[in-house]
Symmetry: C2
Subunit: 337 residues, 2 copies
């Protein structure tokens, strides 16, 4: 198995990428192909004694967090694009690698993947996915931003793709699928939700019905489908609430000697919270519907997070996720024809 | 000034209502009219020596948290409805009281208000409002559930109504108004957001542009407008995230003797957090656009929260909120005609 790793993705790149790649080679023994600026990456590899099984491919350009709009589209689409994302995904496209992992610009990864790898036959819209921490573990939420406007059929396909991912790559059995709504009862929702509900109900999915934030974060379902506008608002608001609470807690804990001592003693409890809030174990989430394995991790990824990202990508390769997803989508198209 | 208080609203009713009413009479000296089941409320008042300035009006029915659909509509609309909400709001309608306060079923209050008080002339849709805690204080968010489908003009009116409320009743100067979106840049958003943006920009509002969760909880704006579907998802997800974090923190703190002692010492920090998460000071939020002052508090309200709810209702009465809102809406209609 060969995983391509974008060396220029994370905020602190290429350090976490090089260290994460070394951890992965040590753990799995497979080749890792780093794609990025040779002048930055080579010295780091040399400092580590040029680890075996890590190959470096030079890429002179990078898609930054600022790239968007036409500029991004051109960087992503150009045949001879020199960005690390384009070069890396082309390796997957040409069968020279099995999956692409980046901690870079999510929109950049999606746009590059769309132009270079295309979508799985029958998939109407690829979806951005997040693994959201819940009381019971994690749940797969999509779409979180690729498609601000969705049709009911898109939500059905998100359900199918999320379900295949949860089952094949995350090892969940008969994943429960819910539609994010403003009320649990059938009949609640906006027009999109109301029209998507019967489609998911009539499908072969393990459909749980509508869910609200309570059920999502309570871990009552494994897959949550929503349009990319609502999903994006959900994810960003959740992160912002968590950040606000942690800030207020920190301020409170630092406000007196008494609370400082308390904080020191209670540290293990805060460490648990930190694991849930910024889970390096998640590593990365897939772009579902793209005809090739592409995983996007957080810009704040450290070496451990990069290692985890490579690990989840490996799971998806082993599970032959793209084939499984293609079959599920073909099955769906047959069911409705 | 006379405030009508639904005695049958909160989860623990009528205890918090009776105690909250007594606190309010002591603090403000104005009459409070309690509306509710005499057999339950009278004994509580007698136990307190029948406090002066608290009047009790019997209501044999209650809108419960389970009431919805046609049953709720009938309870709300019937001319001779015997619910505490209907009887209480009729007092406002007839000029016998200045504002209605309840900690009961929000949908029930909205439906009852819609049928009994109607909407302010020119208002297309009333909006459910929430006061959301932020890093800098509070922000007014609407709509959080009355209208799952909205038109751009509705978002503009939510901005006007929210702005008038923030200025007149909450004392904010030139409140900054933002549209909840999946990106800050103009041009980001779903169709509704994209079409609402120029309307708010062309208005006399202090328009800040699009905002995301980060800006909302960071306190960068005073008023956030959104459709009732997205707003509802936002509020419920935020509450669920906060609840999950607090649960995980509690579990962590209770997991060993060391962390238990730490928790005891750090208690002041947790108390600050609690104030933000379950702020009795907020008391209640108004139904904006209804032609009469109606405030809805949380079902979990205690006496202090009921007292705060009465206080915010008093502020709105003193600010002549309904008149101010009517003028602002008339001004808007003139501006566009």
């Amino acid at each position: 198995m060969r995983i391509v790793l974008d060396a220029m993705g994370s905020d602190a790149c290429p350090h976490p990428e090089v260290e994460g790649a070394i951890l992965a080679v040590q753990a799995f023994g497979d080749e890792i192909i780093l794609v990025g600026d040779e002048t930055q990456v080579r010295p780091l590899l040399e400092a580590q004694g040029n680890p075996e099984k890590i190959r470096l491919i030079h890429a002179e350009e990078t898609i930054t967090m600022e790239d968007k709009g036409l500029k991004l589209a051109l960087k992503a689409k150009r045949k001879n694009s020199k960005t690390s994302m384009a070069i890396g995904m082309d390796l997957v496209k040409n069968g020279e690698a099995d999956a692409f992992v980046t901690a870079g610009n999510t929109g950049g990864a999606l746009t590059t993947a769309y132009f270079r790898l295309g979508v799985i036959q029958g998939v109407e819209r690829p979806g951005l996915t997040a693994l959201v921490p819940t009381k019971k573990g994690f749940c797969v939420v999509l779409d979180i931003g690729a498609n601000p406007e969705c049709k009911p059929e898109h939500l059905l396909q998100f359900g199918i793709m999320g379900s295949v991912y949860a089952e094949k790559a995350l090892g969940m059995t008969r994943p429960k699928v819910g539609i994010l709504s403003n009320g649990e009862e059938a009949g609640k929702g906006n027009t999109l939700v109301k029209e998507a509900y019967p489609l998911l109900q009539a499908s072969k999915l393990n459909f749980h019905g509508n869910i609200e934030g309570k059920e999502l974060f309570g871990g009552e379902v494994d897959v949550v489908v929503t349009d990319g506008f609502t999903g994006n608002v959900l994810i960003k608001a959740s992160e912002a609430v968590a950040k606000l609470l942690v800030e207020l807690l920190k301020e409170g804990l630092m406000s007196s000697t008494r609370t400082k001592i308390g904080a020191l003693l209670a540290k293990p409890a805060f460490d648990t919270l930190k694991t849930v809030l910024d889970p390096d174990e998640i590593g990365a989430a897939p772009l579902l519907g793209i005809d090739g394995l592409v995983f996007v991790g957080h810009g704040r990824s450290n070496a451990k997070a990069i290692f985890s990202a490579i690990k989840v990508a490996r799971n998806a390769v082993e599970a032959q996720l793209i084939n499984a997803m293609g079959s599920a989508i073909q099955q769906q198209l047959q069911d409705i024809s």
